[in-house]
């Protein structure tokens, strides 16, 4: 056991998996000598050499597209996209190929890659370094989407993602990279993809979130004084409908919290599923506390945009009082 930040937990998971399986290759911009702009791959270049930790040309479609080729050949590439805003130039390779190759070939070719991507706002970064694009990829069938909210989960989920036989986007909330430390076992362990985590149990109200806002939710719950069940999705696609539904049926009141814009965000999907499965249990409309339907503003105003504890607190009150 060691007390690790999320960055360190991911670094440890990468080291352990790479030692275990030499099919794993890391590739991306500045991940080698420099150890990544967030230092997530620190030390790996030295440890595993230039053949397994590869600084690529500055080209995101190239990074994902060659990773697809590597994966189709049976390797286990773990590409990095430096910031979520730069997933967009790789969108075609992700949605057109990584997500479709297995169904297109009826399993003759598969794409077991894990695409690591720092995500989200709150670190005073420039434009396109603070977005939350997870719903785009949830809408695309064929690719899994994971987002840990703690160092412990990060390690276990990343190992599962790397071992998964299908492509996974592994979002790493920047705001949590060094926000807190947690006991993380030295030994390898996995956390199954597709399973949410009940962070706190409660019976008055359910909050569903993922990534950095989970911490904001915990703060909001603490100051609410209510018995609230907090679900951290951990995996965004496939969604753990069962855990969500169990809780919604128990509490009848649900708040969903995410950073991405509201319109067609994942919150809409979760709310719809709850309605489909828990219609007669619901005591209040499901409330979504989200980023607004605007561009993520430059950082001076980013805290107005992000779902901070205060805004979540209001939703708790409103839904509880309905």
């Amino acid at each position: 056991m060691a007390n690790l930040t999320l960055v360190q937990a991911i670094n440890l998971a990468l080291i352990q998996e790479m030692e275990r399986d030499d099919r794993i290759i890391l590739l991306g911009e500045d991940i080698g000598r420099n150890g990544g702009v967030f230092r997530v791959t620190e030390g790996l270049y030295k440890r595993f050499g230039a053949e397994r930790v590869v600084d690529t040309p500055l080209a995101e479609s190239g990074i994902v597209g060659t990773s697809i080729g590597l994966a189709m050949a049976g390797l286990r590439p773990v590409p990095e996209i430096q910031f979520e805003g730069f997933l967009a130039p790789a969108f075609d390779q992700i949605c057109t190929h990584a997500a479709r190759m297995r169904s297109r070939t009826r399993g003759a070719l598969t794409v077991p890659l894990t695409l690591r991507v720092p995500v989200g706002g709150g670190i005073h970064a420039p434009e396109l370094h603070s977005d939350s694009p997870e719903a785009f990829f949830a809408h695309q069938p064929g690719i899994k989407v994971v987002m840990p909210a703690s160092p412990y989960d990060a390690k276990g989920l990343l190992i599962s993602a790397i071992r998964d036989p299908d492509p996974v986007i592994f979002f790493e909330p920047k705001r949590l990279y060094r926000a807190f430390r947690e006991e993380v076992p030295e030994d390898e362990y996995t956390i199954p993809l597709g399973k949410a985590r009940v962070v706190t149990e409660g019976d008055e109200l359910t909050i569903i979130s993922w990534g950095a806002p989970v911490v904001q939710c915990m703060n909001a719950i603490e100051s609410s004084g209510k018995s609230i069940e907090l679900i951290d999705l951990r995996t965004i696609d496939p969604l753990d409908t069962q855990t969500i539904v169990n809780s919604a049926r128990k509490t009848g009141r649900v708040v969903i919290v995410h950073e991405a814009p509201k319109n067609c965000g994942l919150g809409a999907e979760i709310a719809s599923r709850i309605m489909e499965h828990c219609f007669l249990y619901l005591e209040a409309p499901i409330q979504r506390v989200t980023g607004f339907d605007t561009t993520m503003p430059y950082y001076k105003m980013e805290l107005e945009y992000l779902p901070e504890a205060e805004r979540i607190g209001k939703a708790i009150e409103e839904v509880a009082a309905y």
Binding site: G65, T66, I68, A73, Q93, S103, G107, G142, A196, R197
Partner: protein, 376 residues
């Protein structure tokens, strides 16, 4: 503006058996044994026959859109011939001839165009990726496949095919650049057939050659007569050597021509001159090879007749297999998505016939409260 020269380059073009039947004995020496030339001619003939029958299948409503390969047989065939059987072939959709040479059963291509994914379920030992529909995207896969060969220290390479139009896509550039800078054993084989649907090559590239695209990456680049199977074999062999021995990529522009419409959904008369087509008819790779064999007394009309009959039989048999393949259950749409089917997808699969949405409102049953697996 007088200044220091820091780089010079040139692009060569290779031709061995030209459109007038002239054979460059020096370049062509010991290149392809006669018995292989005959086999290659037979392969071209079968492929040409395949086009005809596929065309008819489409016109009679038994198959969807189909892109004829007619006139371009030499480029993919010569390439497949020059490579090893475990080299990756990463095609676009005008490489039937080469894929058949590698051993792909013809019904795979038909199934693909019949709207059946099983056409892409290509046996692993053939080392062929599926026909690429989104233009230019497969080049990156070839780079990645080649990278894997190199990483594993295998004596293999990847060869990808694409058209002149594809060289305008960003992915073309990124693939060429990755291959050149990471030293990957890839062959980029561009079939410049003059057109991208209705758009002539000069709108894709106003430079005198497409081959010079490779200069941007310091990549060995060469042009060849793509309707001359000897020239194709020659340049691909050299590219393969470079890939194997030096892990260096090569860009090849094979100059050819699409004798048919872009696909069966197209009408090329809307945008190109009949005179141009006539000109290229004279350069037909199949006719050229037949003349060559005939002049060398290696071929005659009896053999030709027998071949035509055999080709027709072969293709018809493949068409029959493709048409008569058993339907797959709809559940395959769902089962094919992941190694392990997720709950919601399974629910959609299991209820699609009984429920409007493929999901029952009450599909999820009350269950014991979830366990708190790991709390912070």
């Amino acid at each position: 503006m007088p200044a220091r020269t820091v780089f010079t380059a040139s692009i060569e073009s290779v031709s061995i058996l030209d459109e007038h039947g002239r054979f460059d004995a020096q370049l062509g020496a010991d290149l392809i044994p006669d018995e292989d030339v005959i086999k290659l001619y037979e392969a071209m003939t079968v492929s040409r026959q395949f086009d005809q029958i596929a065309f008819k299948l489409q016109r009679s409503g038994r198959m969807g859109t189909y892109p004829e390969n007619r006139g371009q047989e030499a480029a993919s065939l010569g390439t497949a011939y020059a490579l090893n059987n475990d080299d990756w072939l990463v095609p676009c959709y005008r490489e039937n001839t080469g894929l058949f040479w590698r051993g792909l059963p013809m019904e795979y291509i038909l199934l693909h165009w019949m709207g059946d994914e099983r056409g892409n379920q290509i046996p692993a030992e053939l080392c062929i990726t599926p026909l690429a529909i989104p233009i230019g995207t497969q080049l990156l896969h070839a780079a990645g496949l080649a990278w894997a060969c190199k990483y594993r220290k295998e004596d293999r390479l990847a060869c990808t095919f694409f058209g002149d139009g594809a060289t305008s896509e960003g992915d073309f550039h990124e693939a060429m650049n990755f291959a050149a800078n990471l030293d990957l054993p890839v062959i980029f084989l561009c079939q410049n057939n003059g057109w991208a649907i209705s758009v002539p090559t000069k709108i894709q590239c106003s430079a005198p050659t497409l081959a010079q695209r490779g200069l941007a990456y310091g990549m060995e680049s060469i042009q060849c007569d793509g309707n001359d199977i000897f020239a194709v074999v020659k340049v691909v062999k050299e590219a393969a050597r470079r890939a194997r021995e030096e892990h260096r990529p090569t860009f090849i522009e094979a100059v050819t021509y699409r004798l048919g419409d872009h696909t069966t959904a197209d009408d090329a008369r809307r945008y190109r001159d009949e005179a141009e087509v006539q000109l290229w008819m004279q350069r037909d790779p199949l006719v050229r090879l037949r003349n060559y064999l005939t002049e060398r007394k290696l071929w005659n009309s009896t053999k030709e007749e027998a071949l035509q009959t055999k080709a027709k039989e072969q293709v018809n048999a493949a068409a029959k297999r493709a048409e008569e393949i058993a339907a797959t259950p709809t559940s395959e749409i769902f089962d094919a998505m992941y190694a392990e089917i997720p709950d919601e997808v399974r629910r959609q699969r299991d209820t699609m016939r009984t429920s409007s949405l493929g999901q029952e409102q009450r599909g999820i049953e009350a269950s014991p409260a979830p366990s708190v697996e790991e709390t912070v």
